[in-house]
């Protein structure tokens, strides 16, 4: 690759990283990027899960080291979050519901696998 091409690639790469932050694929790192992300309207609103409403409960549960180790109490199941959204009059589309359930099932499966290995 000649020097001109390499420089062009670098410029494109820099622009791409900036675009990733502008469009919220990565966390914003400047005030302008943050304002852009804040101003974006989500097509489907997903409420804060009930198990995350009480910060002291989050402290008691402790830090999550990897996504597969996520454990949330049984009474804060996906169904409860969906029910709460319904009570608040928020309509959660099927694809969002499916993703919530998929994540939850995947987390449970991984936990079961890890437990069976121990």
């Amino acid at each position: 690759m000649n020097e001109k091409n390499a420089k062009m690639d670098e410029i494109i790469e820099n622009a791409f990283v900036k675009s990733l932050r502008h469009h919220g694929f990565l966390f914003p790192e400047t005030q302008t990027e943050l304002e852009i992300v804040k101003s974006k309207k989500e097509i489907e609103e997903v409420p804060l899960p009930s198990e995350l409403e009480d910060p002291m409960q989050i402290i008691r549960r402790g830090k999550i080291e990897s996504i597969s180790s996520v454990e949330f109490p049984e009474n804060s199941d996906v169904e409860e979050n969906l029910a709460r959204a319904a009570r608040e009059g928020k309509d959660i589309p099927d694809d969002v519901k499916n993703q919530m359930k998929k994540d939850k099932d995947s987390s449970k499966r991984k936990d079961n696998d890890e437990n069976s290995k121990q």
Binding site: E13, F25, P28, T30, V37, L52, I58, K63, D103, K104
Partner: protein, 226 residues
């Protein structure tokens, strides 16, 4: 007992007082009540563009809150600043913490938080602009549309390849020369473990994926760049 303090910054000061547990917990809860909607909104918007987004969002949010509790004292600002500026700085601080947690969770890295770094990780916009102007004055405002970004990422054949490339971009720092061209060795090692492959292979996947994306963007550069 009800928390009567008005200023957000004061709530953080009290949250840092570990020898006053009752006051600390109340101040922390009051602080979280004020910022939870903002934090969840931004965390969710970013995480939704990644696989396992719901689980990832909850983990990033939880860990950010825990860091606020642990490192509330690392936030500092002139208390005479107006409320709007204080809120902006606190938002920046929260997003800096969330960004670090997001990187760790997405890459599998166990990089510990250094509280002294938390406040300064949001970049000084003027300094960023200066570097950009110096490097390529005429290109400093170029960004690709969301549609182009999505299409470029969709060209990658496997979710694994997309994930590795996104982790690379999370750690990418403009203007760092060759250092910016490589994944952090610690992160590369974690990815190799995650995907049960070698670090050399991770480097190759990253390089191949980047070429696919860059080639696509080049072909759209003139017509679609905004």
């Amino acid at each position: 007992m009800k928390m009567e303090i008005e200023e957000d910054h004061d709530l953080l000061v009290i949250t840092s007082m570990k020898d006053e547990p009752e006051m600390r917990n109340m101040a922390f809860t009051a602080f979280c009540n004020r910022y939870q909607d903002f934090l969840w909104d931004v965390v969710l918007k970013v995480c939704r563009k990644h696989s396992n987004w719901y689980e990832l969002s909850r983990a990033v949010y939880s860990n950010t809150i825990i860091n606020v509790f642990e490192y509330a004292g690392s936030f500092s600002i002139d208390p005479k600043s107006d409320a709007k500026l204080i809120r902006t700085k606190i938002e920046n601080w929260l997003i800096s913490i969330a960004n670090r947690e997001f990187k760790n969770l997405a890459s599998g890295s166990k990089d510990p938080i250094d509280p002294s770094e938390l406040y300064d990780t949001f970049k000084d916009e003027k300094a960023v602009m200066k570097i950009e102007n110096f490097m390529e004055e005429e290109l400093d405002d170029i960004t690709f549309s969301e549609e182009i970004v999505s299409k470029a990422l969709a060209l990658l054949p496997k979710e694994r390849d997309k994930h590795i490339l996104m982790v690379y971009f999370q750690y990418y720092e403009k203007g760092k020369g060759d250092q910016a061209k490589n994944l952090d060795p610690k992160v590369r090692k974690e990815l190799a473990l995650k995907y049960n492959t070698t670090e050399v292979n991770i480097r190759q996947i990253n390089s191949r994926s980047k070429k696919i994306v860059i080639d696509f963007l080049k072909s759209n550069y003139n017509s679609k760049a905004q």
